[in-house]
């Protein structure tokens, strides 16, 4: 039977004694929940845009620092039409994906090895942790000395950046599967393989997934970093070129694309994570 704490939202709890369910009421509710947040979200640009327009029109700040909105729009369209944006985005995405895949493979293996084998963990983890203290970004100059400035550098940096959080979270996920569940497996005389397949891995998946999410974020950051220093194509290159030519509009376009891609991938992964959270067994 329902108690007041399981019934819907505060609106239900504190609403009128009689709740209208007619079509008009439903439309009003839909409007309030679906449309109004969007209207609120438009307040900020609605106020900012006229100021931007006025400011750029009357030259309150130099053109390079405050370009006209029309120019930015024009650049965006131009870059889309000429396929330039698509090309740069494609190259960046390709690098990220390649690096991420490699980093995931390395991270999962390393993390699993450390998680499953006490011995391996003892030998490897201290060094690994020490290296992890240095942000991936910091390694770039060293990597440039060793690998030059070609494609290898980029893929390797991205892979390394992704590998670290993936390995750490995989290890943590495997090690933190509660003893109690492993013991249940023991009472059913599970073989090592069965334990791994039926208890440890499923239990570790939420952590592994968190690691993948962080790995992707770090991979992105690494991509932008390397492309900032050592590239002649890609979104990071667009940023650098725009900055060198003082074309703020180009820089803005590149930033928006980077933000959009980040948003899409993050949302996607968040949705998948939501599904996985349903069976977290560490009680979190």
């Amino acid at each position: 039977m329902t108690s007041q704490w399981t019934i819907g939202s505060a609106i239900a709890r504190n609403g009128p004694a009689v709740v209208r369910t007619g079509r008009l009421a439903q439309t009003v509710r839909w409007f309030r929940r679906g449309v109004v947040p969007w209207l609120w979200g438009l307040v900020f640009p609605a106020v900012l845009f006229p100021i931007w327009l006025a400011g750029s029109h009357w030259g309150w700040l130099p053109e390079q620092i405050l370009p006209k909105p029309a120019d930015v729009w024009g650049t965006l369209l131009e870059m889309l039409r000429s396929g330039e944006l698509k090309a740069h985005t494609g190259i960046s995405l390709l690098r990220v994906v390649s690096g991420f895949v490699m980093g995931t493979a390395a991270g999962l293996s390393l993390g699993a090895a450390m998680g499953l084998s006490r011995t391996t963990d003892d030998y490897v983890r201290p060094l690994f942790t020490a290296i992890a203290q240095v942000p991936a970004l910091a390694w770039i100059p060293l990597a440039m000395l060793l690998l030059g400035i070609g494609e290898t550098l980029k893929i390797v940096m991205i892979a390394v950046a992704a590998c670290i959080p993936i390995a750490m979270n995989t290890r943590a996920g495997i090690r933190h599967v509660p003893r109690e569940f492993v013991e249940v497996g023991d009472t059913f005389k599970f073989s090592a393989w069965q334990k791994l397949r039926l208890v440890v891995l499923p239990g570790a998946i939420p952590s592994i997934f968190t690691g993948l999410r962080y790995g992707l974020t770090h991979a992105w950051i690494a991509l932008v970093s390397v492309e900032l220093v050592a590239s002649s194509e890609g979104l990071g290159y667009l940023l650098v070129w725009g900055r060198q030519m003082f074309w703020l509009d180009t820089v803005l376009v590149a930033m928006i694309v980077i933000g959009l891609i980040g948003f899409i991938t993050d949302t996607l992964l968040a949705v998948i994570e939501q599904h996985l959270q349903r069976w977290r067994i560490d009680g979190a």
Partner: protein, 269 residues
């Protein structure tokens, strides 16, 4: 006389997935000043909802509730409440938590300190003034919550299954404590519980609610002497009557955990 509650034809509905559910339907009740009223019933009978309406925490109901003749429009310092969880602020120690109740009280700092100390003594937590909630046992935390509920010297104290989360032995001790505090403070108390033994041990009257829709099904007077003895014959008799009444509502409504041999052995008087 202060501390009089008059509940007149209360109804409350919720909407769940499109359809309305009537949690309380035409409930009327009068609680005398200084009385101890216990409310029992199975899950879903609306007893907690009723208590929250008395506190002024929830709104949107049909009917009127009068506190000393004035309609209840929201919470008030004259109506204290103790929840099932102690709900102590984790970042404050016992003394500060109780002191929080006096934030808006028209007392001087010295008076506040005095009454806080008095209430700590009342619930028997001397020595624990500087302890943080995470350092307290369940029973001690609830005692602190009771002290906080009383620190404003409200006319009415409402208790929503305050001992439900405690183990059986602590619960028994807390019931004795609560009776002592009630006798000492002489204020109106309304207790919601699913434990029939607790209800008869503490109450002057026991209101039995039935679910779907929530309504009063029986009112029992408990005429036993105070301080109460759990083995008192009159007490046991009323208890059995209440259990029968709950049984009559349908399966799985009575809950004391005791076997039903009592019911068969002693016919209702």
């Amino acid at each position: 006389m202060s501390g009089h509650l008059n509940v007149q034809h209360i109804s409350k509905r919720f909407t769940v997935d499109g359809g309305p559910i009537e949690v309380l339907s035409d409930v009327s009740l009068s609680i005398r000043p200084g009385e101890f009223v216990s409310i029992v019933g199975p899950s879903g009978c609306g007893k907690s909802t009723l208590l929250r309406l008395l506190a002024g925490l929830d709104h949107g109901f049909d009917g009127t509730i009068l506190h000393d003749g004035k309609p209840i429009l929201g919470t008030s310092l004259d109506r204290g409440i103790v929840f099932q969880e102690p709900r102590l602020f984790p970042w404050a120690n016992v003394r500060q938590n109780i002191g929080l109740g006096l934030q808006n009280a028209p007392l001087s700092a010295a008076q506040k300190a005095e009454t806080i100390a008095a209430h700590i003594g009342l619930v028997g937590l001397q020595g624990f003034e500087r302890a943080y909630p995470h350092q307290l046992s369940g029973g001690m935390a609830q005692r602190a919550a009771i002290a906080r509920g009383l620190v404003n010297r409200p006319q009415i104290l409402l208790l929503d299954e305050p001992f439900g989360a405690l183990d059986a032995m602590t619960r028994g001790k807390m019931q004795v404590e609560l009776q002592r505090i009630w006798a000492q403070e002489k204020i109106t108390m309304v207790l919601v519980t699913h434990d029939v033994d607790e209800a008869v041990f503490l109450g002057d009257r026991v209101i039995v609610l039935a679910p779907r829709p929530g309504r009063i099904s029986h009112i029992f007077e408990v005429a036993a002497q105070r301080p109460r003895l759990r083995t008192d014959e009159g007490l046991v008799r009323v208890r059995n009557e209440i259990l029968l009444a709950l049984e009559g509502q349908g399966p799985a409504s009575a809950s004391t955990g005791r076997p039903d041999r009592d019911l068969l052995a002693r016919p209702a008087a």
